[in-house]
């Protein structure tokens, strides 16, 4: 990839020790060549690949959404038949959730967290490379199933028994279940890396209560991944076993239980939306601090709100199952819990408004996206509160009202901050500014397109239009609003194209950014753009909550870290007191090979249980290769 080469060649702007810089450059160099490309263990390179790949899937899933809007634009349409439509909406949801939303947020973490906490690479760098390739291969597998008309068609939630062996013969549902395995393996790996990086490699002085809110958000997200994903891995493995070897986990005729799937899925599925949303809150806080030129109001309240969201997010899953006829008392509990989660979100909104109030806002593109986020997300949050109400939910559950709601919270709550975040961090990643003029156009087209597309869906839901229908009769009177929504989708496509154009053009010919174009406060802005391969010439010592703004002229730095091997500082969890050093591994091809073998194993096991014994040996070989002690490793 291009960025790897340009990173290696970049001259850091703040070099005050050329000899040390040269040595570090040599030690942390990003390997060249084809084998080198597959061997990279550098968090910035892998992070950028993750970001680009995830946006690639976003575009594919967006095109699928456009196809659905064409089909639904008029009643009794024959553009897509039911078979194709069901594949399209299933892949749209699956791809958006598993291949775009979660990975892109983790990708930002992979790129930014080591820079923000002041270390040279992410913890477990080889695992990071492995996770990227597993994710990539899983995504490619799903794309291939679309091309050969074997894409999953059971919904991104794959309810049994519809997704079971009796009602979806063939391999479509197996591809879905195995895609989950792919993304869970990579998602869990990244979560573990982020937790280790945040807890153990923060620069001295960055105590927990000085950590940037973005890093807090990433930490909460990583923990949520670790606790939520095993549930869906269990569920999808049971499903594969039911389908492949004839177990009866979900077969009521043999004592299995169809509702078991829903519990396992939503115990993951509800936290999943917070896994996507919490990092976006971190982005919002970063942008608001920078563009009001003041720290975010109420740091402690913000952190408590993030942590509370992480906990309460695990107590709501049954509100997806209100209509299943579970006992009333239990449902009341889940109504209350679903209402309560609005409190931490509300507190954060209030703190941001307070930040905007006391600061001096500078209305650049990133802040516009954050303001758009507030306008959209608050509406989505309020419709979420209405959905928490059991009686009301019984009417609007599984209608377009819910479609409207979750696009307000996911597109408005996560994608708007994300795009604002790309405008914000693009200069750091590439060394060039994105066009602000195009950015404003980009914002308004997306904002209008979004509301025109999704607001009418609230009304459609109230008028009784169910979700996941490939067509509807003209007599129902839903035609006009569907046409409006489809017209809005056209604007969204234009907005997306503007964004891609701005990225491509700015990368080639944007204005040079300098180290800190926004006068921002977190540590990534204290190094050159793009950052040198070793991130920091000297690991900084953090003196306050505002790592850059509070930095004194004679701020201390860490010295004594080896420059002849990939040595990083290890610090303790609470106070970030340096405790020892640790040597990170060199680039190697083994994680890539391990990802190839793992992927081959996952895909083969869709077709035969013999995959387990057959792939045991090659897996052992690649893992031995991976962990074979190398130069300078203990």
């Amino acid at each position: 990839m291009q960025e790897a080469a340009s990173l290696a060649g970049a001259v850091p702007a703040r070099v005050d020790d050329p000899r040390l810089a040269r040595e570090l450059e040599q030690t942390w160099r990003v390997p060249h060549g084809i084998i080198g490309w597959f061997s990279v263990v550098d968090h910035r390179t892998i992070g950028l690949r993750y970001i680009v790949t995830a946006f690639g899937f976003f575009i594919v899933a967006g095109i699928l959404a456009a196809l659905m809007r064409i089909q639904l634009a008029v009643p009794n349409n024959h553009f897509l038949g039911p078979d194709l439509y069901n594949q399209v909406f299933t892949v749209h949801g699956t791809m958006m959730m598993f291949l775009f939303a979660v990975p892109i947020m983790q990708a930002l973490g992979v790129y930014l967290v080591p820079l923000m906490v002041g270390t040279r690479n992410i913890a477990f760098p080889r695992l990071n490379t492995f996770s990227y390739f597993v994710y990539l291969f899983g995504g490619v597998m799903l794309c291939v199933t679309m091309l050969v008309n074997s894409a999953p068609d059971v919904g991104w939630f794959a309810y049994v028994p519809l997704a079971g062996p009796d009602y979806t013969p063939g391999k479509r549902a197996d591809f879905w279940a195995q895609l989950i395995t792919f993304t869970e393996v990579s998602g869990l790996a990244v979560a573990v890396e982020l937790v280790a990086t945040i807890f153990k490699t923060r620069a001295p002085g960055m105590t927990l209560n000085r950590m940037p809110l973005f890093v807090w958000a990433m930490l909460i997200m990583a923990f949520m991944v670790i606790f939520a994903m095993p549930s869906v891995v269990t569920g999808s493995t049971f499903l594969l076993l039911d389908r492949l070897v004839g177990t009866h986990f979900y077969n009521p005729a043999e004592g299995g239980d169809a509702l078991l799937w829903q519990h396992l899925f939503w115990f993951f599925g509800h936290p999943e939306v917070y896994i996507i949303f919490v990092p976006a809150l971190g982005i919002v806080s970063s942008i608001i601090a920078t563009f009001t030129r003041r720290p975010v109001f109420g740091y402690t309240a913000m952190v408590i709100a993030l942590v509370a969201t992480g906990f309460i997010g695990f107590g709501l899953w049954v509100h997806h199952m209100f209509a299943t006829g579970l006992p009333q008392l239990g449902l009341t509990y889940f109504t209350a819990a679903s209402m309560i989660i609005a409190i931490p979100s509300g507190v954060q909104i209030f703190c941001w408004i307070a930040s905007l109030w006391r600061g001096r806002p500078r209305f650049d593109t990133p802040l516009l996206f954050v303001l758009g986020f507030i306008a959209i997300f608050v509406l989505g949050g309020l419709s979420g509160v209405t959905l928490a109400s059991l009686p009301f939910d019984l009417q609007v559950h599984d209608t377009y009202y819910v479609v409207a709601h979750f696009h307000y919270v996911l597109l408005g709550g996560a994608v708007f901050p994300l795009i604002g975040g790309i405008y914000y961090w693009f200069p750091k990643m590439t060394g060039r500014m994105m066009s602000d003029r195009l950015g404003r156009w980009n914002f308004w087209v997306l904002f209008l397109g979004f509301n025109i597309t999704f607001f009418p869906m609230h009304i459609l839901g109230i008028q009784g239009m169910p979700r996941r229908v490939y067509t509807y009769p003209a007599e129902m009177g839903w035609g006009t609003l569907n046409l409006v929504a489809s017209a809005g989708a056209l604007l969204l496509v234009v907005g997306g194209a503007l964004f891609v154009y701005n990225v491509v053009r700015s990368r080639a010919a944007g204005a040079p950014a300098g180290d800190n174009p926004w006068d921002a406060d977190t540590l990534e802005w204290s190094v050159s753009s793009p950052p040198p391969v070793y991130n920091f010439l000297h690991i900084p010592v953090v003196e306050g909550r505002n790592a850059v703004w509070d930095r004194s002229a004679d701020a201390p730095i860490v010295t004594g870290l080896g420059s002849d091997r990939r040595e990083v500082l290890v610090s303790d969890v609470i106070d970030a007191e340096p405790s020892n050093t640790c040597t990170y591994p060199e680039p190697t091809i083994w994680p890539f090979l391990a990802a190839v073998v793992t992927s081959a194993f996952f895909i083969t096991s869709i077709f035969t249980a013999w995959a387990v014994p057959v792939f045991a040996l090659p897996l052992t070989v690649v893992l031995i290769g991976w962990f074979w002690p190398g130069r300078g490793e203990e």
């Binding site: 039911p82 059971v154 309810y159 028994p161 519809l162 009796d166 009602y167 009521p252 169809a258 509702l259 109001f297 109420g298 209509a323 299943t324 006829g325 009333q328 009341t332 109504t335 209350a336 209402m339 409190i343 509300g346 507190v347 909104i349 209030f350 703190c351 307070a354 905007l356 109030w357 006391r358 001096r360 806002p361 306008a375 509406l379 309020l382 209405t386 928490a388 109400s389 059991l390 009686p391 009301f392 019984l394 009417q395 609007v396 559950h397 599984d398 209008l448 509301n451 607001f455 009304i459 109230i462 008028q463 009784g464 169910p466 979700r467 996941r468 229908v469 490939y470 067509t471 009177g477």
Partner: protein, 331 residues
């Protein structure tokens, strides 16, 4: 500009959403009415909160900055405001929870035995409504058309033969999932005679979109009359053409899926047809029950509901006419 546009739209929505034949804000029974009332309350509170948040944001952005704003004292006032806002949030949510629990009492399970009990059985992609009776031969099946007496609660025993479906007639009540392997009880009640449309609300495969039903609510006497009529076996053919039609039915694949009581056709795979001509729609609410649509459905079901269990049948023109005459006589 957009804020005002959104506010105007919300009002317009509130006004327009009441209409529509499948709208939750067009309640025709006590359960739906209770939910609609709650819905208006939730919308009112939400709209108010939304406008307040937008106003606060607008003010925060637009207010004139003064030099003394940079003094740390300003934060104390802000802390007060944020605390007040959070407290108001807590109280509002508590009130919404209480309102929601109050509206939900008795909503999900029937309080008494009900005047009538009907088994609701889901199939891919049609509904079977069976009226229980102590005499097995008096059990009535009325596929895709649920008849109920007005003004009394009707208890529904909800179950599925294949995948998960969801029973939903928005004018009368919210949803209840049909889950294979379990039977749950819910209820509906209509206040006035009328025909109310509903459709499956849980994705159930290819023809989820075309799995509709209608509820026919009528006065008790009329309902009993209908039930009595449905208990009878199919009427004997009254003409040669109809007799030939019956032969065609019994000798073609039709008989291997459908039941017509009083004949040898007794399979329960597809909807019972004993009184099919008395029903208002065919193909689970997909088409009006006319001779022309029936012909289309028999000859080319796969074009109308691709993937449905009903095959497109090759029937000679003369046989088809006879078949239509017979089926149309099954009142």
């Amino acid at each position: 500009m957009t804020w005002r546009a959104i506010a105007i739209t919300i009002v317009a929505v509130a006004a327009s959403a009441c209409g529509g034949n499948q709208s939750m804000f067009n309640p025709q029974g006590p359960a739906a009415r209770s939910i609609a009332g709650l819905g208006w309350l939730l919308f009112g509170v939400s709209t108010l909160v939304y406008l307040l948040v937008l106003a606060a944001s607008g003010w925060a952005l637009a207010r004139r900055r003064r030099p003394e704003d940079d003094e740390p004292d300003g934060d104390r006032a802000l802390t007060k405001w944020v605390t007040v806002a959070a407290a108001v949030t807590v109280v509002t949510l508590l009130a919404m929870t209480v309102a929601s629990v109050a509206a939900g009492r008795g909503l999900t399970s029937p309080s008494g035995p009900g005047a009538v009990t009907v088994d609701v059985i889901g199939h891919q992609w049609w509904w079977d409504f069976q009226y229980r009776d102590v005499t097995p031969s008096d059990i009535v099946a009325s596929p895709n058309e649920l008849h109920i007496p007005v003004g009394v609660p009707v208890v529904l025993n909800v179950m599925s033969r294949d995948v998960i479906h969801s029973f939903w007639v928005p004018n009368l009540h919210g949803k209840r999932d049909l889950i294979p392997g379990q039977v749950t009880r819910t209820w509906i009640q209509a206040d006035a005679p009328g025909v109310y449309r509903g459709q499956c609300a849980e994705f159930c495969g290819h023809q989820h979109a075309n799995m509709a039903l209608i509820v026919v609510a009528e006065p008790m006497a009329q309902f009993r009359e209908w039930l009595q009529q449905q208990r009878r076996p199919a009427p004997e053919p009254s003409s040669d053409l109809q007799r030939r039609g019956r032969e065609v039915f019994l000798q073609s694949p039709c008989a291997s899926c459908h039941t017509i009581r009083g004949t040898d056709a007794g399979s329960r795979f597809g909807p019972e047809l004993t009184h099919v001509a008395s029903r208002r729609t065919i193909a689970a609410g997909t088409l009006p029950n006319t001779r022309g649509h029936l012909a289309e459905w028999i000859a080319d079901a796969q074009a109308i509901k691709p993937g449905s269990r009903m095959p497109s049948n090759v029937v000679a023109a003369a046989d088809l006419q006879a078949l239509l005459s017979y089926v149309r006589s099954l009142r």
